[in-house]
Amino acid sequence: MDFPIFHIDFIGNRMLIAFDAILHVIINHALAVGALPVIALLEHTGIRLKDPRWDTLAYRLLKIIFIITTTVGALTGVGIWFSASLVNPAAIGSLIRVFFWGWFAEWIVFVTEVSLIMAYFLSWQSAARSAEAKQKHLHLGIFLAAFSWITMAIIVAILGFMMDPGNWLAERTLISGLLNPMYFPQLAFRTTLAMVMGGMTMICLTYLFTRNDFGFRASVLRLVSSWSIAWMLALVFASIWYYQVIPQHMFANIPVAVTTQEFVSWNSSLKWLLIVGLSFVGWVLWSSVKHPGTVHGAKYIASVLLLFAMLGQFERVREFIRKPFIIGNYMYANGIRVEDYPLLQRDGILQHATYASIRDITDDNKVSAGREVFEQTCTRCHTVNGINSIRSQLKKMYGDKLWQSDVIAAYIENMHGARYFMPPFPGNKAELNALAVYLSTLQKRATAFNGVQINGIPKPDKISAATFYGALPNLDAPHGVQK
């Protein structure tokens, strides 16, 4: 409402964030949090056994980690901000106000992490000059691993908060937001999963890099597999914990049967993926500890992919149970606060949407007004023609029958009841009807739907010249309507 609406109709806005975020999380878990301890472990073993092969391998692995994390890894991290602030500025703006110091601390840890990884990687060769220097260098690696974990621990707090602000709604302090009820189970789950993912990824790369030295390969694989299997045991407990906390917690918030059913089916798919995936990964790791060198590389790769899939599904469930909110019980996914609803449903959302070009709906402007209502209330999740397009949804519901606007209006009015993942419609009756009329025209013809990055914004209205920027709309007038 308060921001010009950026919209990509083809891949959809949510997809933009999802793609960037998933890539980032995978790199962060598999190549930073989970992999850096393994590098330190290899370096340590090399020092202990006085065998330079360990050191060379660790350096080669670190080079890959270094290149990917300081390019794609770092930039997708910044990308989450960029995309979130384009797609849902109200939400990211609110989160930043609450979590500013959390993010600031995160930034300091991040600076430390990047400086450490550069120091660790770039000083690797010069550290070989003396045993003392080498020992110092190893300490750098351990610090680095610790810092990359702390970075994740802070971010998880913010993610947990978005799902369930816990006491924050009443207290509105940073600490109450950070210590929300989901925090520890999520952190335990992510930490252990990341460790297994990182171990597995390093195993795959080791397999690739040791094609010419089978004896050495076996000893590395045995070590890293034992390390990973220990984390794997912890992961089993963490999953059970997570699984027990989340559903009970969410069921309390979810009113409708459909919800529970869909949620159960999502979560049980995660459960089965976890059970099957963890058994398989556990089995691969176990055989790799027992008979390293006989396990085929394809099994390692399959394990890594399974772990990625688990992480992906976990993120989906996490996102899913958050809906229809973007910040639990405070703001809906359309960027409108729960508190705003009574006003908007009374006055109409177009009256209060800064960048709308139509304020009052008449018989002549119904379709274009409906388009604006759609823009304000549905485009954060739906496209017109692309992914999760409103046309395909309507087609699924009404097929080739004539799409009648009063039928559509009757649906939208109650849609949050049956399709709980959508927020209630935030406008008034006239806007509901205009929206329905606009949607019904889509059966025949849908003109391209562009955001402000192409269309621009309309000239500001009803603001005369009192301050440099004009007089203010008088919301004290009866009914608070902007006139």
């Binding site: 770092a74 910044v78 602030s85």
Partner: protein, 434 residues
């Protein structure tokens, strides 16, 4: 003049505004210095590579320079996070608006920077692979440099656009925002600063004792390399002052004030003695080349701090009215929200008092979305259901517990196993009787 007045995020700032502003100025300066070293370094590496075609020692120099670029680029990114965070906090209504208006190019920053960084690594780690294919060797460097030069233009466009809400309605996408009257000259001012600061950095860097050993030149004398950078620093400073004057002359009037003008003049003036000292260094014999280096650096450190403060001052001046208007509008709006919320609560209370029909609220909660009174929506209308199940509430309950698939052209209805039998009975009665 007329500008859109949005509302602010209705949550308090996380810290006093003054503190955030100080943090913003400081963290931005640190960020921008590394950006200068990254952009300028990349440019110099390219120049040295091209010179290296004739004088092979320059090729070696280019390689050394490239190694600083990959470090400085990482620092540029991490240091950029803090000012981004603070801009998001302090200028949410303006910054999010201008970002959205150039949204696709703004988003493109992420892949563009990623590609530029990857190219930088390819360039550095595979230096010796490509060295004998000059087209590729120089081509990669040129592409990487071109990206490094273009990306700041996107940032410049955005931070300029956010200052002038009255221009927003006329902007249609990135190009039109880039062509607003004062973006390109600010960009040139930035580029000459990048050359200036990276030259100064390389003068220091090539002056270290270890450098001679690192570079392993066969013929080239380090002193000549350093003169080369001095010459660039000298030229860039003059360019910097000229572009600065152009920027000043074309800055839109709304942010101008005497204080700001004074700051700018002061910042610019600190460059004058530096020019003089650089000229002296350049014209003197070799062993005196560094005589004034510390003084020169002192001048520029002073200049960059003053400019950082001036830049912020201008932004605050420009947005002062807009911010006041936003604050007032937000307050008005929040009052209206509160009033409407209370009215709605009263209305709900009034309704509560009235006797409710059993089954009605359950029906509205669970079924109404798909079953309209008279119209077939997702499922059949209540009218139709009534007609099918006259006098058979148990039939409705049974269907609802485990629905079948009847109508070919409709989706199937989800089951409601969790609704209790009593509730179901009430819903069925309600359906048939109303």
């Amino acid at each position: 003049m007329n500008a859109p007045i949005p509302r602010d995020i209705p949550l308090p700032l996380p810290a006093p505004e003054g503190l955030l502003e100080v943090l913003l100025i400081v963290s931005f300066l640190v960020h921008i210095v590394f950006v200068h070293l990254m952009v300028g370094g990349s440019l110099f590496s390219l120049i040295c590579q091209i010179r290296g075609l004739k004088t092979p020692d320059y090729e070696k120099l280019a390689y050394r320079i490239m190694q600083t670029v990959t470090v400085n680029k990482s620092l540029a990114v991490v240091m950029g996070v803090a000012p981004l965070l603070i801009i998001n906090t302090l200028y949410a209504p303006q910054f999010y608006a201008s970002s959205a208006l150039i949204g696709d190019m703004w988003m493109a920053v992420i892949p563009l920077v990623t590609v530029a960084f990857l190219l930088a690594y390819v360039h550095k780690f595979w230096w010796n692979h490509f060295i004998n294919i000059p087209e590729l060797h120089i081509g990669i460097a040129a592409l990487e440099t071109a990206l490094f030069l273009f990306i700041p233009l996107i940032f410049m466009t955005n931070v300029n656009l956010m200052l002038f809400p009255e221009y927003w309605p006329q902007v249609k996408g990135f190009i039109s925002a880039m062509l607003l009257p004062n973006v390109l000259q600010r960009y040139l001012h930035f580029i000459s600063a990048a050359v200036l600061f990276s030259s100064l950095f390389f003068i220091w860097w090539t002056g270290r004792k270890a450098f001679l050993q690192e570079a392993q030149f066969s013929k080239l004398r380090v002193i000549d390399v350093r003169r080369f950078f001095y010459a660039f620093a000298f030229g860039a400073t003059i360019l910097q002052i000229l572009t600065g004057l152009v920027v000043f002359a074309t800055l839109p009037a709304q942010g101008m004030s005497w204080g700001f003008t004074l700051l700018l003049m002061l910042g610019g003036a600190t460059a004058l003695p530096a020019i003089w000292w650089m000229w002296q260094n350049l014209t003197r014999p070799d062993h005196l080349l560094d005589d004034n280096f510390k003084k020169i650096m002192g001048c520029f450190v002073g200049a960059i701090i003053i400019m950082g403060i001036a830049r912020h001052d201008y932004r605050e001046n420009t947005l002062a009215d807009h911010k006041t208007a936003i604050a007032e509008k937000t307050a008005n709006y929040m009052a209206a929200v509160k009033e409407a919320g209370e009215a709605a609560q009263l209305a709900a209370k009034a309704l509560e008092g009235k006797a409710t029909i059993p089954g009605e609220s359950e029906f509205n909660q669970n079924c109404a979305a798909c079953h309209h009174a008279t119209l077939p929506t997702v499922g059949p209308s209540v009218q139709e259901i009534k007609a099918i199940y006259v006098g058979d509430p148990a039939g409705i309950a049974a269907w609802t517990k485990s629905p079948g698939k009847k109508r070919a052209d409709s989706m199937s209805m989800p089951g409601f196993p969790h609704i209790s039998d009593d509730e179901l009975a009430a819903i069925s009665q309600y359906l048939l009787n109303h």
